[in-house]
Symmetry: C2
Subunit: 337 residues, 2 copies
């Protein structure tokens, strides 16, 4: 089976030349190992950070080693207790067709009751997993958003952002989403957002101020940040007193070493803004049960809908990943292998 | 009696021409009013914001009206219950020699037990009041600093910063303070700081990194911000995981409309930094009793020392205020009238 290897560290935006698809050795199973055939691979913006040789919350990818990431696989062979051939597992051995998976890849059997009820397995790579969990934790736990709040979400047509919009609407909040382009904005409105801002059409701040004005709201109570930069500054500019910012991503600056110019950061003090960075894996275990129950209910009721941008075949993984940075995806970007 | 009036709104740094000293009308007392003779006036950086015609947490000063601010006065005449001639009161009718004080100026009798124990009355304008309370609330409540933490404090020779240094050392934290110039840095070290950085001598970040290295600390757990800008960015650069930033002031940018260039803001996510703006008056009532008991104990034991930069006479008030922005003061800037 083949796997994508990182062959050089990208400077700025990665290119296809940073990656190579190579055969994995075919080794017999040791104890506590599974052999899997992957069905779905996740590509996520946080992986860009792992391509640098710098200390971060997720370990750096090693050069000339297979990359890792979320994946859904089917067990072919098992020497791990509790797993049998045919089981569907969520694990971290992504970026490859499959192969040997140890405990370090954190395999988890997908809950059969939810699969039997019709939940597609790949949703555990998005709404029922990393991206939906990130949305739920960031909005409800980190930002402590509550009914009646006005919520601003950047990258609201992305996997995390679209889940934020829908969870917020299900909780009776007013939601303003930003996205790039008319098609994405139309989808964000379809998801229930009260206003959608096209950040490619005009600067963010005047559009955000105009949307608040139209909605009769003095400012935002919550900002869910996926992009940083201009969006974050617009959130500082329009924050109500005691606003909470959940900082989930800054995709605008992942590939870009230049400083962010923050004109309204100073409003932190008069508006008593609380800004907090968070990572899904820190908090997920503590709230997993509540999250699964709540999110599967929201999906079943139609309050949270599933939308995917799918690239086909293992060969397409790098182009799917690069598409995240050109804003290609609507909903969760996936690779079907 | 004379009072300083704001006669024009400053653009950038204020000048003496923005102010005029004018006579107050001599009116008889109404019910719920006091006539006071002020002894001490406070000048504080937050007053700069009140000179703008913009909504903020503290109301704008009105043009051609007497300015207000913290003051200690002696009651000359009283038609307010609980106050008698000779009482010392803390009130908001500053920037003037004295005059008529109503309930809107929030007069409070100074606690006679503490005065009798030798606490100088003007300390209720600094360590026992706005600046000491701001330090105590920001460090212990907002940033939740605890023994063993590494704390970075900007403007650590200022009224708030010097109190932060001393409270942190009394609580067994490691403290790095920044200040402008060798004299101030020497004083910060005298206060007990483990390292002092002269931000006028060299850029902040390399000095902060070197101080951490010398102290054998991997980074900072707490940042107490009085200045913003380069200091804040250096704090983002060196933050340990789950660091807390209490944002008290950004004196670097109060007079300056240009954006802050934040190169390390993106570390909010991998380091899960929590940054929170706060204002003394939001939280003071809730913790006043605990604060008075704790702070008077720290002063009595010598753990917190009193240092003042005093300008003499009502005429000197604007120059005392302007001195805050040129970094003139060591400890609390006061005017004795």
């Amino acid at each position: 089976m083949k796997a994508w290897h990182l062959t050089s560290r990208p400077q700025g935006l990665p290119t296809i030349d940073n990656f190579a698809l190579r055969d994995l050795p075919d080794t017999p199973l040791d104890k506590d190992q599974l052999r899997v055939r992957n069905l779905w691979l996740s590509v996520d913006p946080y992986m860009r950070g792992r391509m640098n040789d710098a200390k971060s919350y997720a370990a750096s990818f090693q050069l000339d080693q297979p990359m890792t990431g979320g994946a859904i696989g089917k067990v072919l062979e098992s020497r791990m207790e509790g797993f049998a051939p045919g089981d569907l597992v969520l694990h971290m051995g992504g970026w490859r067709e499959g192969g040997v998976i140890g405990l370090d890849m954190m395999p988890n059997k997908l809950p059969t009751a939810l699969l039997d009820a019709g939940l597609p397995p790949q949703t555990f790579l998005h709404n029922m997993g990393l991206t939906g969990g990130t949305a739920w934790i960031g909005l409800l736990r980190v930002a402590a958003a509550k009914p009646g709040d006005t919520v601003f979400v950047s990258a609201s047509a992305g996997a995390v952002g679209s889940a934020v919009v829908q969870i917020a609407k299900a909780r009776e909040m007013t939601v303003i989403g930003s996205a790039g382009g008319a098609e994405k904005c139309a989808w964000v409105t379809e998801l229930g957002a009260d206003a959608a801002i096209d950040y490619k059409a005009a600067p963010v701040l005047p559009q955000l101020a105009a949307a608040l004005e139209r909605l009769g709201k003095p400012g935002i109570d919550v900002y869910f940040d996926n992009v940083g930069g201009e969006h974050l500054d617009a959130a500082f500019a329009t924050a109500n007193d005691f606003a909470r910012f959940a900082i989930c991503g800054m995709i605008d600056v992942y590939n870009d070493a230049k400083p962010q110019e923050m004109k309204y950061l100073i409003r932190t003090i008069p508006a008593r803004i609380r800004m907090e960075g968070f990572i899904y894996t820190d908090q997920f275990i503590d709230c997993m049960e509540e999250f699964y129950a709540d999110m599967s209910g929201l999906i079943a009721s139609g309050a949270v809908t599933i939308r995917e941008t799918v690239h086909e075949g293992i060969e397409a993984a790098p182009e799917a990943f690069l598409g995240l940075f050109s804003g290609e995806n609507i909903g969760k970007m996936l690779v079907r292998v």
